[in-house]
């Protein structure tokens, strides 16, 4: 029974990694990356590594998406400012 949940978690990680790479637009990729972080945390719990799951949750579901979304916003504001200046 424990193996079945490991297989499901592994397949979810593979699928969300593929989705994260296939998504070319950064804002949408940040969404998929946050789901990848959550699914990785589940895989780490299933592989009996709660400390690692906690740190992946803290970093992957709140910190990394916030950093990426702030960078996307900054780049978009710069592009808009450059258009207005032209």
């Amino acid at each position: 029974m424990a193996d079945a949940v490991i297989v499901v978690a592994l397949l979810l990680v593979a699928a969300s990694a593929t989705a994260a790479v296939a998504q070319r637009e950064p804002a949408r990729q940040a969404l998929v990356l946050s789901v990848l972080g959550v699914v990785l945390a589940v895989l780490f719990t299933v592989l009996q590594a709660p400390d690692v799951g906690l740190s992946q949750l803290a970093v992957g579901s709140a910190l990394t998406p916030l950093l990426i979304m702030l960078s996307v916003r900054k780049v978009r504001r710069q592009a808009r400012a450059k258009d207005r200046a032209r």
């Binding site: 906690l54 740190s55 803290a58 916030l66 950093l67 702030l70 710069q78 400012a81 450059k82 200046a85």
Partner: protein
């Protein structure tokens, strides 16, 4: 280097690496095997020093020197980010406008802020007992502070977050870790050796010798480093604007 040629190179290289990886995976010992010689020794050493969480004992006692390297990587990376994200000469700071946020969301942010901060401190404090530790707790505490930005606006966050204090906390925490290591030297044993304090009774907050102290130092360091990091990015995204632009 046309686009097609690069894709061909990528395909050939990728296929080669994939073949080697699959061959290597087939030779690895079976998943879920029983032979973990280093693991058993690490657990024995951790129990000998009355530390309930073996991973915390590994990070802050048996491999404390590596963790010193790791928090200096964190410190240097945040320093690099702040230097890169500074306000350039041709930029000025626009005052962030107060944002009008729906009441339930604001109330949730004001309630979740102390609860998340307390959970972060709980995860740091019980680092050497239950799952958790300085790193995870530090990130949670720092993210909790930014609920103010998410629930209200950037001005509210700036009022609560004095950057000078977090600068000092960051530097203090890293040096506290190093000083704890030097204390080991002064006491006659090795640098960062866990022989300073008594190991205390198993599974209590004071168990594990210097592990809880190093844990708290790393927790404080990670929390202030993440706050500084997010401050740099938030300033760039919300406040700093090009001169010739708007």
């Amino acid at each position: 280097m046309s686009q097609r040629l690069r894709l061909w190179l990528l395909a050939v290289g990728g296929a080669g690496v994939a073949a080697l990886l699959v061959a290597a995976c087939l030779d690895l010992p079976a998943f879920g095997g029983r032979r973990h010689p280093y693991g058993e020794r690490a657990v024995a050493a951790s129990l000998a020093r009355h530390t309930a969480n073996t991973i915390a004992s590994l990070n802050f006692d048996q491999r404390a020197y590596d963790t010193l390297g790791e928090i200096s990587i964190l410190f240097a990376a945040v320093l690099g980010c702040l230097v890169l994200l500074r306000e350039a000469r041709d930029e000025h700071r626009a005052q962030p406008q107060p944002a009008e946020v729906a009441l339930p969301v604001r109330r949730y942010a004001l309630i979740a802020l102390p609860v998340a901060l307390l959970t972060g401190l709980y995860v740091i404090a019980h680092g050497q007992l239950s799952p958790g530790g300085g790193f995870q707790g530090g990130v949670v505490a720092a993210t909790a502070l930014h609920l103010l930005y998410l629930g209200a606006d950037y001005r509210a966050l700036e009022r609560v977050r004095p950057l000078g204090v977090f600068d000092v906390c960051d530097a203090l925490a890293v040096s506290a870790y190093a000083v704890l290591g030097l204390a080991g030297l002064l006491a006659g044993t090795a640098f960062l050796a866990n022989t300073l304090l008594p190991y205390g009774t198993f599974n209590t907050l004071s168990s594990g010798g210097t592990v809880p102290l190093l844990n708290a130092a790393v927790g404080m360091e990670v929390a202030s480093a993440v706050v500084l990091l997010l401050a740099g990015f938030l300033d760039q995204a919300v406040e700093i604007e090009e001169e010739r632009g708007s």
